[in-house]
Structures are given as structure tokens and as C-alpha cells.
């Protein structure tokens, strides 16, 4: 009988022994898997460079067997720019950031890089709050969402949730903007496709590519992992619909 591998560890991925750094029900490790698989499938492990911010998502590049660097809070996009430019556009450079890191404190860096159409790929994990610091309001918290800094629920006084890929999709200098989720296996596969496409656009030197990934944060949402997935399926996608908002092959 012919043997076929139906599940296994991606070749590039090795967390090693030691403490598992994520909370129960956290979906960030899925991104480690997607990136490991996609980088291998595209055959760019020798020239891929990962840039992380700080917080929960800072750990994403640690177990992936590629060159990587950790930036300070909000500056991953600038650091990616410096790397890409200094190496004359040779490496494939991507960032992995939380929504606060990318769109709040890193908002200036994001806009600057987008307007210059830096040949990098930005991956923003949207879990609707600041996870590492204990669940404060982030730019993507939903209206009505209770966080530790919006104990009565987010209102318009705190601001509307920020729709990053929709906004970046309107920019001439961005070649790809999409949002995926990890709440179903079908969505997981789609998100993987988006990330692969975004990196491919960079390999083809088209422009800046961006993918937002909706992810669960059960402890800070005060939910079980199952309830958190249900919340994404039923509530979060209403505000943040998955899909591709821009996909062009020339700027």
C-alpha cells in the first residue's frame, strides 16, 4: 500500500524543547505553520527574512528555520524596509505583527512603507485586543467589546474599529490587500493562499502586499477556545469580512 502523509510537522518548523509560549486556544501557532509551509513551497527559505514586532506575535519567527530579526514595538515595517533596501531588494522580507503593533503604534511606519511601495509583505494578526499586556482595547476591538480599558464596552468615543486591508486597498502603491481567518479549515486554507500570493507578489517585485489574519484570543476574551472560534465565525467576520480587497499584477 502506498503511504501518504496526511499530517506532519512542516520541514522548516521546529519549536524545540521548552515551554510552549502561547495560551490555550491561541491561533498564532497556525501562522507559524502557514509561514513554514508557504516559505518551503515557494522555495525561498535561503533568502527569506522574517521581522517580528513585540508581544505575542514576536515569537512567530523563532521556530521557523530562516534568518529573522525582532524589531521594537511598532517598528517592524521600518526594520523590514531597512533590510530590503540595504540588501538591494534581494531577500524576501515579511513582517508579523499584532494589530496594535501594526496599525496603532506602527501606523506611521505602515503608511510610510505603503506610500513608498516597499517590496515587503506585512502580515497583521488581528485578535481584537492587546494580548500580551492583558487584553486592553486595540484599534480593531469591536464596538461594544469589553476590554480592560473599555470596561463598559468600546463606544464611538473610543473610536471605530480600523479596517486596514480595505483602507490599504485604496492606495495606488499597494498591490495586494487581503483578510483571512483561521476559524474553519476552509478559511485556514484560504488564508494560506492569501499569504502565499502576497509573498509571490513580492518575489515578482510588484509592490507592497498586506494580509490581515483574524485570530482568537480566548483568555483575554474571557472565553473557552471553542467559544472564541464561534465568536470569530458569528461576530468578528461581520465587522471584518474575509476576502481580497486589492489584487493587481502591476502598479
Amino acid at each position: 500500500m502506498k503511504k501518504r502523509l496526511i499530517a506532519g510537522k512542516p520541514k522548516l518548523w521546529d519549536r524545540g524543547v521548552g515551554r510552549f509560549p502561547y495560551c490555550g486556544g491561541c491561533q498564532t501557532p497556525l501562522l507559524e505553520r502557514i509561514l513554514s509551509e508557504v516559505i518551503e513551497e515557494l522555495g525561498v527559505e535561503d533568502r527569506a527574512i522574517g521581522v517580528t514586532g513585540v508581544g505575542c506575535h514576536a515569537r512567530v519567527c523563532m521556530p521557523i528555520d530562516i534568518d529573522a530579526i525582532q524589531a521594537i514595538h511598532g517598528r517592524a515595517v521600518d526594520v523590514a524596509t531597512g533590510i530590503k533596501r540595504a540588501l538591494n531588494g534581494e531577500p524576501i522580507v515579511f513582517t508579523v505583527q499584532g494589530d496594535g503593533d501594526c496599525a496603532s503604534i506602527g501606523g506611521g511606519a505602515l503608511l510610510g512603507a505603503c506610500s513608498r511601495s516597499e517590496r515587503i509583505t506585512i502580515i497583521m494578526i488581528n485578535n481584537n485586543n492587546y494580548g500580551t499586556t492583558g487584553g486592553q482595547m486595540s484599534p480593531t476591538s469591536l464596538i461594544g467589546q469589553k476590554t480592560t480599558t473599555t470596561p463598559q464596552g468600546r463606544t464611538l468615543d473610543h473610536g471605530y474599529p480600523l479596517h486596514v486591508p480595505e483602507f490599504l486597498g485604496t492606495m495606488k502603491s499597494v498591490c495586494y490587500a487581503a483578510r483571512g481567518s483561521l476559524a474553519t479549515f476552509a478559511q485556514f486554507k484560504k488564508t494560506k493562499k492569501y499569504i502565499k500570493k502576497a509573498l509571490k507578489k513580492q518575489m515578482d517585485n510588484i509592490g507592497l502586499s498586506f494580509v490581515e489574519v483574524l485570530a482568537a484570543c480566548p483568555p483575554n476574551w474571557r472565553m473557552s477556545p471553542g467559544e472564541a472560534i464561534d465568536r470569530i465565525r458569528e461576530e468578528v467576520v461581520q465587522e471584518f469580512p474575509p476576502g481580497e480587497f486589492k489584487d493587481v499584477d502591476a502598479l
Binding site: 527559505e45 535561503d46 533568502r47 527569506a48 527574512i49 521581522v51 513585540v54 519567527c61 523563532m62 528555520d65 530562516i66 534568518d67 529573522a68 530579526i69 525582532q70 524589531a71 521594537i72 517598528r75 521600518d78 526594520v79 523590514a80 524596509t81 531597512g82 533590510i83 530590503k84 533596501r85 540595504a86 540588501l87 538591494n88 534581494e90 531577500p91 524576501i92 506611521g108 511606519a109 503608511l111 510610510g112 506610500s115 513608498r116
Partner: protein, 364 residues
Amino acid sequence: MKKVFIQANEAVGLGAVDAGCHAFFGYPITPQNETIEWFARELPKRGGAFVQAQSEVGAINMIYGAAATGKRVITSTSGPGWGLMQEGLANLCSAQLPCVIVLVQRGGTPGAPSVQHAQADYLSATRGGGGSGYRTIVLAPASVQETYDLVQLAFHLADKYLNPVVILSDSLIGHLMEPLRLKRLHFEPLPEKDWSISGKGKHKDKKRRYVTFAQVVQGRDPYPTMLSFAEHWYDKVQRMKTEVRYQNYRVDDCELAIVAYGYTSRVSKEAVNLARSEGVKVGLIRPITLWPFPAKPILEAISGGVNRFLVVEDNVGGQMIEDVEKAACDKAEVTHLGLFARHLPSPAGIIMPDRVLEEIKRLI
């Protein structure tokens, strides 16, 4: 040897490319615009990278990424932009990434509010404004030639210690035009940057590299514990402290010594000549490294008979005077001549040699 007539802000660029600098990231700010414009014009021609960042915060973090690739990189700014770069600078130190930062001082609140000139950033440059107690070597040029030479030295020292190096210039030195001899300087050879990231396929051993400012938190090799990194850091700072550079001018047999850097050192040198021609025994100590501060010539001057130091620094109240007082250990009187001594009571006023001479005569 080629000779050009050029201003110091542009000599920064020539020094950088002669040191093998590959990339510049910066943001426009007075009075260093000639520097960023030089790099925008000249670096791409030479195959280098130039990016006008969206802010100084962006620029210093692009420097962080670019320095991590092992290439030589530089930025330039002035006081307000320097303020914005402090967070990035602290983390460049933590991550042990070498780079050169040129700080062309201007006036600025609260010492001397103006976009014109002043020497108001000495304390910020030598003490550092970011977190976690880092140290950077600070070099202060006083001419176009020295700006060109010190930029080359700065790249070498940055790579030697894997730490940012600061060039502290000022608006008057920056805009000074003088003849410049273009001569590439040679330094001791340094090890290859085996730690740098450029894609693991580029490394000899084909193994990945990981750069982080959070060495202590993550406990990664080669610093598996907090203590191992702290010991390494302490040792590095001690070695950096040996890089003292200064220049003495007619300091033998004098009673009073002026201490000045940057443009006021040029003015003070002229004042010393004027005083000496009148038989007044006065000399000049010019620190070239502001950190580490040259305490040795101060102590030597005291044992040679100097009982009074005059610090000429164009700001309010004095900043370098703190280092001179510390070096003098109460064995000599230290006074300051600063912004109130300008020839015009305006941002355009400067401290003139005759005013320094007047102060010398008043003190002796």
C-alpha cells in the same frame, strides 16, 4: 591626492562612502539638509541605498534593519529628530548593531530656541536619552577635514564595538566651507560580521541567524543568561572608555586653559593666539571624544600649573562644564562662557574671539 572645496555637512557623505557606507536613511531637518541631499544625490550613483523616511522614528528603525544585514549605514539629524531617535538608539545598543548617527546641533527649547545654531545637545548626546543605560562613543569635529576623517573613524569604531557611534557637529561647523583632502583612512582589520542576517543561504554554514534587542529576555546564545550579557556589556563599555581623543593647543606653561569643542573651539583657538600675542599665558584643550570624556589632559594641565578652566560652549548655563568640573575634582576653578556672550542678542549671534579674550583677561 584629490582636494575639494566643500562644506562639512557634505564632507559627511564623502567620509561615509570612503568608509564603505552602503545606505542612508533620514528625514529632512535644519541644519543638516545638505547631508541628506548629498546622500540622495550621490549614494544611488554609487550603488548604495537612500530612503527618505516618514519620520526620524522611521529612519532610526530602518537603520536598525539595515545594520542587521551587516552593511555600513548612516543617518543624520538635528536636536528634535535626535529626540525622536532615542528609543531606536537604545535598542541598537541592546541588539549590538553598529551604525553612525550624525547630530548637527541647532538651537532648541529650552536652552536656545531657534532653528539656527547653538551647542545645546551635549548632555543628550553624551548621556543618551533612551532607556536601559546604554553608552555611545561621541566624536566632535571642528573642521571640514576632521568631519570627513571622524566619519571614517566612527564607522570603524562602530564595527569594532558593535555599537552606534555619534558624530556631534553643530550648525556653524556643518555649514563651514574649507578645502578637504580626500584620503581613505586605514584601520586595524575587524572580524567578519558572521552574526548578520541576509538570508541563511548567504551564510557559510547555511545556518540561520537571529537578531534581537531582547537578548536578556530570550536567553539565546551567545548570552544564555542575563548575567552573561551584562558581563559582556560591562566589559565592552570599559573597552570603549579607552578610545579617548583630544588635542592640546599651547597648554604648556599656562595659568588658564580653555576647554571647547566644535565651533567654539575654533573661536577659542583664535582667542588663545590673540592672548599669547599680548603675553597672556593661556591654552586650549579640545576634546575630540566627548564620551569618553578626556579627563587626562585636564588633570595634566592642573599638575602643570593651571588653576582655572574656562569652558566656552554656546548654550545657556553650560553642559560640557559638568564633565570638566568632574575631571578637575575641585582642584581648579571652572567657569562657563556661553550664549549670553554672543555678539548679537539673537539666534544669529555667535561668540567672537575678542569676547573670549575679554573673558580671559577678566579671569586672569
